[in-house]
Symmetry: D2
């Protein structure tokens, strides 16, 4: 698949389905060779924890981490793979900022893929880190 086709595939996946449409993510960067992807999600009140705080709820943070992990393998394997498990460590509150998630494939084996994800705020500070296992057997 050419780089242009892969970019199209990634953008299509980011926009398709009810939950991705709710989130409204932007593709910032990707590399098939390195198995990395960077996705940005601007803040909206729909993501807010306490009313008026402009603090991100942990839920959309977890969702963005899952998606960035999935997309790092999507960039590497050129197909979507289901999540086996996902682990999230919340490092600091994210307040009044967009979030940038960078997924990086640690390993992509015949059956299981492992991805690290780092979430940063507009000041470049780490807000949360994630690690996910994905099932790489399922493919066309």
């Amino acid at each position: 698949m050419s780089n242009e086709s892969l970019e199209e595939l990634l953008r299509h996946h980011l926009e398709v389905g009810g939950f991705h449409q709710f989130l409204g993510m932007e593709l910032v960067d990707f590399s098939k060779g390195e198995g990395t992807v960077t996705i940005r999600l601007p803040f909206r009140e729909d993501f807010e924890r306490g009313p008026g705080t402009r603090q991100w709820h942990g839920g959309p943070i977890a969702a963005l981490i899952d998606i960035a992990g999935d997309f790092a393998l999507l960039a590497k394997l050129e197909r979507g793979v289901p999540t086996v498990n996902l682990r999230i460590d919340y490092v600091r509150p994210a307040i009044d900022t967009s979030l940038t998630a960078r997924g990086r494939v640690i390993r992509s084996g015949r059956t299981v893929g492992l991805v690290d994800i780092e979430l940063t705020d507009d000041a470049g500070r780490v807000v949360a880190v994630g690690r996910g296992s994905y099932l790489t057997t399922s493919g066309p």
Copy 2:
């Protein structure tokens, strides 16, 4: 706090903030003594993975698990506590079903609380399990 006041507190927390309002969760049950809470989330297209599949995206599943864990400690401690980390294992796809999340406090120490969460579909099958650590030091 009386059981009625605690129920009011739980219902209030479930409804407050942009993300909780987006989700639209229902309080099914809780027990302060046992440190348990049960929350139900009906399916909506906003939670969908692939368009028209009626399959839940992993994102709202992760969010519901985080919230049920938080609320089990909220029922036990009568105050909200921040998530330290969260781990989710996806067991089977959830398709065309509402989800019921049951959180149960394993331990509630002076600094860290540990909660197990089980997510079931309308047929009572386990869809995902979660385990979360929460910071219990933060007082009111």
Copy 3:
């Protein structure tokens, strides 16, 4: 495989290999149908954290949890399976006590198995809990 043959297989696996020999575990109970196994490990100074404290080091606790998870699937599938990932939550210090680990299969799929493990002390208190994913594709 008969229940006697399975018990023999489990006992053989518990005794074989340098690390299992170092630990010195005892098979307490198992059920193929339920996918459960119970293993006991008496305290020795080799497992000690601080000298003279008789407190268990986290290392042998982690190892025992991994093994109990593996053996729950061994009881269910009648063959050993490699660990994909393992998560351990330390609940309270284990001091001057043997440890009993109970593994229980949550799910045993075609590719991935999920097991919960609970570690208790001689007073029946939970010392640590574990959750592990294992690769079930690898056949004999």
Copy 4:
């Protein structure tokens, strides 16, 4: 504390207690400023999985990851801290090789510290990765 005193403290902790003595670890490197530590563990038959395979059992791998995480915070804080939880992903079998564990503090807060650990074999390949949460409140 001077760098020499810190090195002495780290070496002392590596040698003290029954389980550390069983393992026989070597301090390779550390940096208080960066919150990193590198520990090496040579292979012995006591660590073996199947007899004669020279393959590391997952148990000592998990233990080494826990210790490297603990020591990264020990280098940073100049005191030992208890593990809250630990997650290990096994990436590839480690066969006939010593293991080198590098711990790196991601965050060291008032109550919880987060550490990433990478385990490599003699060829520099990643054998396993770990992530641990540690309780940093407990003072001297």
